[in-house]
């Protein structure tokens, strides 16, 4: 690499006498200099005073700009909150409960109660009960195709490791149809366990907002099956997944219940062994009086999916283990007990879930009884269907089925239907019974609908009323000439069933009702905050730090007035808006109104914020075209490829622009780094995790195979390659400006490399654990791993931050006499200076004092983020760091550092988004790598676990955000108050830096905020689109979270960190 001498080293000759020498930059305040004359000390005192003033001014203004960024963050949060409130589906939760002695029919209430409550509970509440007891086993993520013999869907479809391992369900259903049946069991998305358990016990549809509460479950306050069983005095036992405990606190027998941590997905066996250990003793005859219903929740299959993916030997053996367990339970079962085995959701081809793809929602349901009560109404339905789509039941159907089988009232909010196989009698012709249970269920649905309509203040649906009347007519005609084979019973059964499904569809539509005014409010707040940000980041010609106090004053005044007004509006009840929403809306609006006059005080300093030059237009083009693209599901699906296209376009433009540079060094370096930038991006693009919609045009490389979520053995070499090369790469960028001096060599050459090496060891041990290569127990391995990971995090964050705070700039200062050192070039001789032997002060690394110090922060975070990624992602993050540094060199050689061009921060934004996809993520819920929360921890700990998952998920965006100040700091020439041009003598150069940094940060936020606004608007606009929940809604959520995370990181880490890098430079070179 070629280095221009002025950028590399500065040589200067301090004049001991003249005040005109005035190069405090060259008078390092090291202790050996203090042995000077008295006059010099006085001089130094004066300088110190001035320096202190400037330093204090810088510190004060630094707090100010952080305040401005906080205000921008709050505006974004307010806008996102208002939109989300209207956009994510909401459903009123009715508090009503079904009770045993009140049948759902209106006419029953008038009838005298003939039977006492006690006997009712003996025989069953609404319907004669079939079983006294039940064992309900949930095999988490039991996908339907696991349970049936492999059936080829197409030519390329072959038997996988997960097929044909749990044959017991299919065998029993085929051999003894009266004892067992097996059906596909379709979940309502979101397919997270918490939401599924809610659906499986309340019988109602989930709303999307609940998807986020997987980390902290809350108790169900709606009427549900568990609560009904509990209030009927049944003794309930729960074993396994502790999500049940948070959903149903206090309902289970405390002595017999054993709950296990559900989120430790690395652990395949603890939960399952625990369930087995406590389940089988209870099934023994001597213990049968101790319990009525057991809920057993196995997690091994789900965890094997998360950890290895379905197509892995661990999954096969886990399924075989489940097969044995079910056979053992069957053997231990008595006649009075019903056995239910089901999956709460499926898993996608990598073994994850949460979304609504077919593989994720297709679970299996199997019921078994030794009494032989199950029937099939037709010969076609005798065998379990080959594919899940053939003949399925919705998961909420379990609720009325189980309620009626156990003689319980159907929970009030239930929308499911009784399962035909259960109530049609062993010969499949008990139409009277079917009609009875369907009438009961339909009546309950009707009662619920009526109450819901009342609560909403709306009338009943006409079509469903017609269906109900028709069904009742048939029912009455059937009850006249009553016989079990009567066609009337059959017809009324059909009609009741139709009524139930019709209501279900109506409810689905109803709960997909959006609060459009609230959505528009959110979009308007987001839009106006972008307009303000455009003015602040791109429009103003003045120093941004001077605006701070006025801006914050006006904005907070506006916010205060708005908040009060909003609360009052909410309290008076003039509008339907709630207090919180009103306060948020008007506070945001008030602060925007207040800030506007503060920003556009002087129209003269406010040129139209139109980009000038090719770079500005390119940055605008990247932002706007991507935003428009999110209106199309294709461009959303293929976002990773489009980002590569943009990055290559930028690289090519950078190469072209570099060719136009006049200086040969600039041209050569610029072209070199442009080519490097493009090639690195293309290499990174080989790391892919395909989303379902990209198939079949995409091949996942992030994991060992497309059906796995572990790394291939060869991928474990990547961390070592990163250890070997990344510190040297960073070093080469430091060496380019001769800045590999001082703390840099220790921190980059040793600490960074050591941290990376420990990280590689961690992932080797991880691989050893997965592949069982080492004869060491899993506990020991886990202990060592956690220790290593915590060590790396401590190195990155504790030691790294301390090093960043206290270390000096990366310069080396040599004092030498020119006569004694013939190698050094002669010092420049200025006319008028006294001649004679003088000391020459050589400062290496002078050309990049601000950038190299701040870059430490980037390296610290890179280390932590690399630890949190899977091996493939570590390579990607290493490439990201390289590309960022390459970008900085491009910006420097093309004179974009000091001209405050928007291209640097925007390309960093594009890089962040691009590498989000290259670290094994997609804009889908199922691609969140929850298991990474356990890299440095053994159990869930708040707030660390969510933070760790954020560090894994948004690592690329975080790293890019931290690099934003570098776009103006990298190779920025040193500026002190006596070096600024004479035209502006009162100006503090440190605040100029601050102004530039906050402008870059604002531009970066502007890119992400525009993307966020676009995804928000499109999601709102396309709210009836078929692909809303698969494509647009996840992208909207991702955009919002990224914006909030980056806002915080920019404010706290990036702009916050500039304080110390500037202070450390000021300490050495003066202000």
């Amino acid at each position: 690499m070629v280095v221009t001498p002025p950028a590399g080293a500065m040589e200067t000759s301090p004049n001991p006498n003249g005040p005109k020498s005035g190069l405090p930059a060259a008078t390092p305040r090291s202790s050996d200099q203090s042995a000077s004359g008295q006059s010099k000390r006085k001089q130094a005192g004066l300088l110190d005073k001035k320096a202190l003033e400037l330093e204090d001014e810088f510190k004060a203004k630094h707090f100010g700009v952080m305040g401005v960024l906080a205000w921008i963050l709050l505006l974004h949060v307010a806008g996102i909150y208002l939109f989300t409130k209207g956009f994510l589906l909401t459903r009123m939760v009715l508090e009503n409960k079904s009770s045993c002695d009140v049948l759902p029919f209106e006419d029953i209430l008038a009838q005298p109660r003939t039977t006492a409550l006690g006997s009712k509970q003996q025989k069953g509440c609404w319907h004669e009960k079939t079983f006294d007891k039940a064992v309900v086993i949930i095999v988490d993520a039991l996908r339907y195709d696991f349970t049936v013999p492999f059936a080829s869907k197409g030519e390329s479809d072959t038997v996988h490791l997960f097929h044909n391992n749990i044959p017991v369900l299919y065998e029993t259903a085929v051999e003894n149809p009266a004892n067992a049946f097996l059906l596909p069991f379709i979940a309502d998305p979101p397919t997270t366990t918490l939401n599924r358990l809610k659906g499986l016990t309340t019988g109602t549809l989930p709303t999307f907002l609940e998807a986020g509460s997987n980390f902290a479950g809350t108790a169900i306050d709606e009427d549900n099956l568990v609560a009904q069983l509990h209030s009927a005095g049944k003794n309930l036992v729960h074993l396994g997944d502790d999500t049940w405990q948070s959903l149903f606190p206090g309902y289970f027998d405390t002595n017999l219940t054993h709950a296990y941590d559900s989120f430790n997905v690395w652990d395949l066996h603890t939960v399952d062994n625990g369930v087995n250990e406590h389940l089988f003793p209870l099934l023994r005859p001597e213990n049968s009086k101790k319990w009525d219903v057991i809920f057993g929740h196995y997690l091994g299959v789900d965890h094997a999916g998360h950890r290895y993916g379905p197509n892995h030997a661990a999954m096969a053996s886990k399924l075989q283990e489940m097969d044995r367990v079910i056979r053992d339970i069957i053997a231990a079962l008595d006649d009075k007990t019903l056995l239910v085995v089901m999956g709460d959701h499926g898993m996608d081809i990598k073994g994850d879930h949460g979304g609504e793809s077919d593989d994720e929602i297709e679970a299996a349901l199997w019921m078994y009884s030794k009494r032989g009560i199950f029937g099939r109404t037709s010969k076609d339905t005798l065998l379990p269907p080959q594919f899940a789509r053939d003949r399925f039941v919705p998961q909420i159907d379990l609720v009325p089925t189980l309620s009626l089988l156990l003689g319980m009232p159907i929970p009030f909010n239930n929308l499911g239907s009784p399962i035909e196989e259960v109530f049609s009698g062993p010969r499949g012709n008990n139409w009277a019974n079917l009609a009875t249970v369907n009438r009961l269920t339909a009546a309950q649905v009707k009662r619920y609908q009526h109450q819901y309509a009342l609560a909403r203040g709306a009338g009943d649906d006409e079509e469903s009323a017609l269906l109900w009347t028709a069904a009742e007519e048939e029912w009455k005609s059937a009850s006249k000439g009553f016989s079990s084979k009567s066609t009337a019973a059959r017809a009324s059964n059909e009609l009741y069933r139709k009524y139930q499904r019709h209501t279900l569809d109506t409810c689905r539509g109803l709960w997909a009702r959006f609060d459009v005014p609230s959505m528009i409010q959110g979009v308007v707040i987001l839009f106006t905050s972008i307009v303000l940000l455009i003015i602040y980041a791109r429009g103003l010609k003045t120093d941004r730090t001077q605006l701070t106090s006025r801006l914050l004053q006006f904005a907070s005044m506006g916010a205060g007035v708005g908040a009060v007004a909003g609360s009052v509006l909410g309290l008076t009840g003039l509008t339907e808006i709630s207090i919180v929403d009103g306060a948020v809306l008007l506070a945001a609006a008030g602060s925007i109104l207040g800030a506007t006059p503060a920003l556009i005080k002087k129209p003269a300093s406010l040129p139209l914020p139109v980009p000038n030059g090719m770079w500005g237009w390119l940055a605008l083009f990247f932002t706007v075209s991507q935003s428009i693209g999110f209106a199309s599901n294709s461009y959303t699906i293929w976002e990773d490829e489009i980002l590569l296209f943009f990055l290559t376009t930028f690289g090519v433009c950078a190469g072209i622009s570099s060719m136009r540079q006049r200086q040969t060094t600039d041209r050569v370096l610029g072209v070199y780094h442009s080519i490097l930038f493009v090639i690195l991006g293309r290499i990174a693009s080989f790391s892919r995790l395909c989303r379902e919609e990209q198939m079949p045009f995409c091949r996942s490389t992030y994991y060992a195979s497309s059906t796995s979520s572990t790394s291939a053995p060869w991928q474990l070499a990547i961390p070592f390659l990163v250890t070997l090369f990344l510190p040297s790469v960073v070093r080469s960028f430091y060496a380019g400006s001769k800045s590999y001096e001082g703390a840099a060599s220790l921190w980059i050459g040793f600490a960074f490399r050591f941290g990376l090496f420990i990280t590689s060891l961690f992932w080797i041990l991880e691989g050893a654990d997965d592949g069982e290569w080492l004869p060491v127990s899993k506990e020991t391995l886990k202990f060592i791993r956690v220790f290593l990971a915590q060590f790396v995090l401590a190195l990155a964050f504790a030691a790294g931050t301390a090093a960043y705070f206290y270390c000096k700039p990366c310069v080396s200062i040599n004092v030498s006499k020119p006569t004694e050192d013939p190698n050094s070039p002669p010092a420049p001789i200025v006319a008028g200076q006294q001649q004679g032997p003088r000391t020459t002060v050589t400062i290496l690394g002078f050309g990049n004092v601000y950038g190299t110090h701040f870059c430490f922060l980037l390296i610290n975070f890179a280390l932590a983020i690399i630890l949190m990624q899977k091996p493939m992602g570590q390579g990607a993050i290493a490439l990201l760091l390289w590309q960022i540094l390459s970008l900085l060199e491009i910006l420097d050689t093309n004179n974009l550092t000091l001209s405050n061009s928007s291209i640097g921060p925007v390309v960093l934004g594009v890089l962040g988004s691009f590498y989000y996809f290259k670290t094994g993520h997609q804009a889908t819920l199922s691609s969140i790598q929850w298991e990474t929360a356990f890299i440095p921890l053994t159990s869930i700990q708040y707030p660390w676990s969510p933070l760790l998952v954020i560090l894994n998920t948004f690592g690329a965006q975080i790293l890019a955000a931290i690099a934003v100040p570098l776009t103006v700091l990298w190779k920025r020439p040193l500026q002190t108050h006596d070096r600024v041009p004479a035209s502006n003598p009162n100006k503090n150069p440190a605040t100029r830096i601050l102004s530039d940094v906050v402008q870059a940060a604002g531009t970066h936020i502007l890119y992400l905020a525009t993307i966020n606004l676009a995804t928000t608007m499109w999601a709102g606009h396309l709210r009836r689109h078929l692909m809303l929940y698969r494509i647009f809604s996840p992208r909207f959520m991702m955009g919002s979270v990224v914006l909030a995370v980056v806002d915080i990181v920019l404010m706290v880490v990036a702009v916050g960190g500039v304080r110390w890098s500037t202070l450390s430079v000021g300490e050495i070179f003066g202000w």
Partner: protein, 287 residues
């Protein structure tokens, strides 16, 4: 045809003066003969028409059709450059050409293919040369430019296509053929008209050439191919959305539009500006 070349130098004063610190070739003019002027306008249209007739076949089997049309495209391009463009070295790159008013081809600082220069001298000896020699003097640089197109431009464009996201493990023949078509469209005329003039190629890499038919068609090809990538991800399920087709369509359209647009008086001779400083610099110079 021979005397026409001399008047090509006479056209050069019409072009705006190039910045004097950049001693590079001025924009290339189409030869002033009637045939050249007519055909230079007909040529882009002809290419587009040919492309349109073969479109269905390309959609059906891209590799086969692109391969079989490549020789024809090459022939048409060769014909175009021979008929319409002055070969490398014939256009006076700088004022030095004033020393050779009789024969523009004998530019002393020509770094183009030696053959062109030698044959230029050959032609000088025989002032009343027969047209065969003349054609030969055009054909040789054309063949040389062709070999450069295939040996250098095609690999460079292939790499660029891959860097922009073209698949690396599959569709290799499509990528290479697409690059070959783009190279014939853009690089043949450039190398024919400029040879290996270092200053010109520096400007080419910096997108800093003054607009003319040659540069316009090359830049248009690149930009067209860039825009051609846009419809690929859309889920319209059309067969023509397959990888190289839209890019090539964009390249052909861009080639035609670029070569015609760059000759309009409004655009001719102008350079692409990147930064405000560059714009203000040229303003200062023109004032």
């Amino acid at each position: 045809m021979a005397p026409d070349t001399s008047s090509a130098s006479g056209a050069s004063p019409l072009t705006p003066p190039a910045p004097d610190d950049k001693p590079s070739a001025p924009p290339v003019n189409i030869l002033p003969s009637l045939i050249a002027r007519i055909y230079s306008i007909a040529h882009p249209a002809l290419l587009l028409a040919l492309g349109a007739t073969r479109f269905e076949a390309v959609v059906a089997d891209p590799t086969k059709e692109l391969l079989s049309t490549l020789p024809w495209l090459t022939l048409v391009q060769i014909f175009y450059v021979i008929v319409c463009l002055p070969p490398a070295g014939s256009t006076p790159s700088t004022e030095t050409s004033a020393s050779a008013p009789a024969d523009g081809r004998s530019s002393p600082r020509s770094s183009g293919p030696g053959g062109a220069v030698r044959h230029g001298k050959h032609g000088k000896r025989k002032q009343h040369a027969n047209s065969w020699a003349c054609i030969w003097s055009r054909l040789l640089p054309a063949l040389l430019s062709l070999s450069l197109t295939f040996a250098l431009a095609t690999p460079v464009l292939t790499i660029l296509l891959v860097l922009f996201g073209a698949p690396l493990t599959t569709h290799n023949s499509e990528t290479v053929l697409c690059a070959a078509h783009m190279a014939v469209l853009s690089a043949t005329a450039l190398t024919y008209a400029h040879g290996l003039d270092r200053a010109v190629w520096n400007e080419v890499w910096g997108i800093a050439r003054p607009a003319d038919a040659v540069w316009g068609s090359a830049l248009g090809t690149g930009l067209g191919a860039w825009f051609g990538a846009i419809p690929i991800p859309l889920d319209w399920d059309r067969p023509w959305q397959a990888f190289p087709i839209t890019i090539l369509v964009g390249a052909y359209i861009g080639h035609a539009v670029g070569s015609l647009l760059a000759r309009t008086p409004l655009v001719y001779g102008k350079r692409v500006k990147f930064t405000v400083e560059e714009v203000s610099e040229t303003e200062k110079k023109t004032n």
